[in-house]
């Protein structure tokens, strides 16, 4: 029940953020979207993801979007209405149908016998403390088993941050 209401709120926020022409309003609504999404993550027991969603999604992303708006324009240019809507509509509907059809074979949510829970997860659960010396399982996976992966992610985020700083600082328009 709570989940359904929150997913409804998410869809409404996303659709309205696309629909309204005031970009500042869009940024504000996206921040609301992130707040609700963070509650959904918490509801799914993914507390760390919820933290990231709230601080990055509702906090930093909104500030960055406003910084971008303050350097460009606040309004959206009116585009002429597209004439050939039907082919695009058909493609979208067919793709969506194929994707939904593909999810029908997936295991249930939190199914203990799902392939994802039978592959390496038991080893992490049983041996991560003795193999890595880290007590927290999530930290052990992120910082030890997938250490190079995390290093790469950190590099990507660092590069992105550098790019944003170089774009936003100095040089008024």
């Amino acid at each position: 029940m709570i989940d359904l209401v929150m997913l409804f709120l998410l869809v409404v926020c996303a659709l309205v953020a696309i629909h309204i022409k005031d970009l500042l309003g869009s940024a504000v609504l996206l921040s609301a979207y992130s707040l609700i999404m963070a509650v959904v993550w918490t509801r799914l027991n993914a507390v760390d993801v919820a933290f990231t969603e709230a601080s990055v999604g509702a906090g930093i992303t909104t500030v960055l979007l406003i910084a971008a708006i303050s350097r460009t324009a606040r309004g959206e240019e009116l585009m002429p209405r597209a004439r050939h809507v039907l082919p695009g509509f058909v493609i979208i509907v067919v793709t969506a149908a194929v994707l939904i059809w593909g999810t029908l074979d997936m295991p249930d949510f939190a199914d203990p016998n799902a392939p994802a829970n039978l592959h390496v997860a038991p080893r992490y659960i049983e041996h991560s403390a003795e193999e890595t010396g880290v007590i927290n399982m999530v930290t052990a996976v992120l910082a030890s088993y997938r250490g190079y992966d995390t290093l790469g992610e950190t590099t990507v985020i660092f590069t992105a941050g550098l790019g944003v700083i170089l774009l936003l600082r100095g040089r008024k328009r």
Binding site: C13, V28, L35, A38, R43, N45, F51, A54, S70
Partner: protein, 84 residues
């Protein structure tokens, strides 16, 4: 009891969402999103108690701390036209 409270808070969020969607001024939207953030804090605390994870209360506190960043940025942009 907690579930009832959560449903009531969600109804409040729905009402506020109407204002955020309808606008028309940016201040309406900012205020609506700010109220939504506050409701999110309450909702998180309630969810923690509903699912027997009372330490979610800490998350709710962190949300309360970062809730106002976007509001400050938007209002500063509205006042000065930039973020500097």
């Amino acid at each position: 009891m907690f579930s009832t409270a959560a449903v009531l808070v969600l109804i409040a969020v729905l009402i506020v969402l109407y204002r955020a969607v309808k606008g028309p001024r940016i201040y309406d939207r900012v205020l609506a999103v700010n109220v939504m953030g506050t409701k999110t804090v309450v909702l998180l605390a309630l969810i923690g108690f509903i699912y027997n994870r009372p330490h979610f209360l800490d998350i709710a506190l962190v949300y309360a701390l970062i809730n106002f960043i976007a509001t400050i940025a938007i209002l500063k942009y509205k006042e000065t036209g930039s973020l500097q």
